[in-house]
């Protein structure tokens, strides 16, 4: 049975802040930091947005583009490291908000920034085995870096949702491969507000090692090379890492252009590869092949090989906004408003 993406939808909050504005507060040359990271600005959730509202908006956009009955959804998984509740699944509210409840299985996934792609893999298995007709996989986050920390320049918000099924597939999920080790590059202990990271340790032994091994492992198993793909998307904690890793795997700037959103919206964590993939599907044509590698600290990578089908020509893409359209509604904030929006100001009330 062929399993693949039947529909998809995205959501990115409207507010933005520049590295320059963040640097001003901490006495740093933010402009230079942004240039080094290849981040022009990052998205910020409004005070009434969280991983649940972003997941719901993305999932509703996904449902608008297809004629699948929500009652045929047998599984829904939300991958995030910023679930609003520590106990009480994000997915319960998302399932209710797209009218998929109550006859389905729901769970929240966690694997740093690759929880959303882990959800795609789980749905592939459930659909492929015939256990469910359709599965929904969502990757979404409203991530925070500690004030003044290097992560504050990049940690942002956004997410995308994918309907996985076996009928009317717009892109087949041809193969997936994961690479996982015990690597303490980035973590957050239970009860702590902000994550911590191993500084320079987050680069070579963490991101690059896992993305390269995930990517090469998938190429070996599919007998493909970078030349076989039209598009490639990689986890993007900034603009620099995915650009470098793409080159190391043999991909050109043209292949990664459509899916590289970090320069415009920052690091959306679990939303990063899902949003990049959504932006690629916004413009993909039948026969295009897509290569995707997500990375999650801790650490592991999920690699996917996909092929866009003829079905995409009759797919109602225009019933929901494209990623480009979504990220064109922008309002820049100063640091004080950003701090208020993110709850970084201690209020006098109880």
């Amino acid at each position: 049975m062929k399993v693949g993406i039947v529909s998809y939808g995205a959501c990115v909050p409207r507010y933005r802040i520049t590295p320059e504005e963040i640097g001003k507060v901490w006495g740093a040359d933010g402009k230079a930091v942004g240039k080094g990271l290849m981040i022009n600005c990052k998205s910020i959730p409004a005070p009434d947005e969280d991983t649940i509202t972003i997941s719901v908006e993305a999932a509703r956009n996904m449902m608008k583009r297809c004629d699948v009955s929500p009652k045929d959804i047998g599984a829904l998984y939300v991958g995030s490291e910023s679930h609003p509740y520590a106990v009480k699944p994000t997915g319960t509210i998302v399932a209710e908000a797209i009218e998929a409840a109550p006859h389905l299985t729901v769970a929240d996934f966690e694997f740093a920034c690759k929880a959303g792609t882990a959800a795609i893999q789980t749905c592939m298995g459930l659909v492929g085995s015939g256990m469910v007709k359709y599965g929904v996989a969502i990757g979404a986050d409203t991530s925070q870096g500690a004030p003044g920390d290097a992560l504050e320049y990049s940690a942002s918000a956004g997410g995308a949702a994918f309907l996985i099924g076996s009928e009317k597939i717009i892109a087949t999920l041809d193969r997936t491969y994961s690479y996982t080790t015990d690597t303490p590059d980035f973590w957050r202990r239970e009860g702590q507000i902000y994550p911590r990271h191993g500084g320079r340790f987050t680069g070579e032994p963490a991101y690059f090692k896992h993305v390269l091994n995930g990517g090469r492992g998938l190429m070996e198993r599919t007998g493909t090379t970078a030349k076989d793909y039209t598009y490639a998307v990689f986890h993007q904690p900034n603009g620099k890492f995915p650009t470098r890793v793409a080159k190391q795997l043999g991909f050109s700037d043209t292949q990664i252009k459509a899916g590289l959103l970090a320069p415009l919206i920052g690091n959306t964590y679990s939303g990063a590869v899902p949003l990049g993939l959504a932006a690629i599907l916004d413009e993909a044509k039948p026969g295009d092949r897509i290569f995707a590698v997500a990375y999650g600290s801790g650490a592991g990578s999920d690699a996917f090989a996909m092929t866009v089908t003829d079905e995409i020509d009759s797919y109602a893409r225009d019933r929901a906004p494209t990623v480009k359209e979504i990220i064109s509604n922008v309002k820049f904030l100063d640091y004080a408003t950003y701090a208020k929006f993110r709850g970084m100001i201690v209020l006098g009330r109880e």
């Binding site: 005070p47 649940i52 509202t53 509703r60 209710e96």
Partner: protein, 138 residues
């Protein structure tokens, strides 16, 4: 006192704009009720739960400077009456836009956002607010 149970019962209507249609007079009502306020006894057994489309136009709006505590970090914000396609009028916040973007008749659609929360350890309440609806050029 916890209001979680009351909110929970209203979740289908606040998440998905589920209202009722009276099949005696054809009118829509929101939030759902058990009998039609126009037809009264004639509507018994003729009330149908329906999902409203969630799309409408600005009927009237204002910019609120002093609002309830839970919206203090959003001030000033836009509050509007929205004329829905189903003939109903809703009131709610209009978000992700500036006052200059709004006119009487501007198309909007409902989205799910956080309405309030019962403190940092309590339940979070979600419900509808409105955003501008871009009319796609054919």
């Amino acid at each position: 006192m916890a209001t979680a149970p009351r909110f929970w019962r209203e979740n289908p209507s606040r998440y998905n704009l589920v209202g009722i249609k009276c099949n005696s007079c054809g009118r829509h009502f929101f939030p759902p009720r058990s009998i039609c306020p126009v037809c009264h006894r004639k509507s018994v057994g003729k009330i149908e739960r329906v999902k409203l489309k969630g799309e409408g136009k600005i009927f009237s709006w204002t910019e609120v400077q002093e609002g309830p505590e839970e919206l203090s970090s959003n001030r000033p914000y836009i509050y509007a009456m929205v004329e829905m396609e189903d003939g109903l009028r809703f009131t709610g916040q209009v978000i992700d836009c500036e006052p200059a973007d709004l006119q009487i008749g501007t198309p909007v659609r409902a989205v799910l956002r956080k309405l309030s929360e019962e403190g940092p350890s309590g339940v979070i309440h979600y419900g509808y607010k409105f955003v501008l609806r871009k009319e796609k050029s054919p």
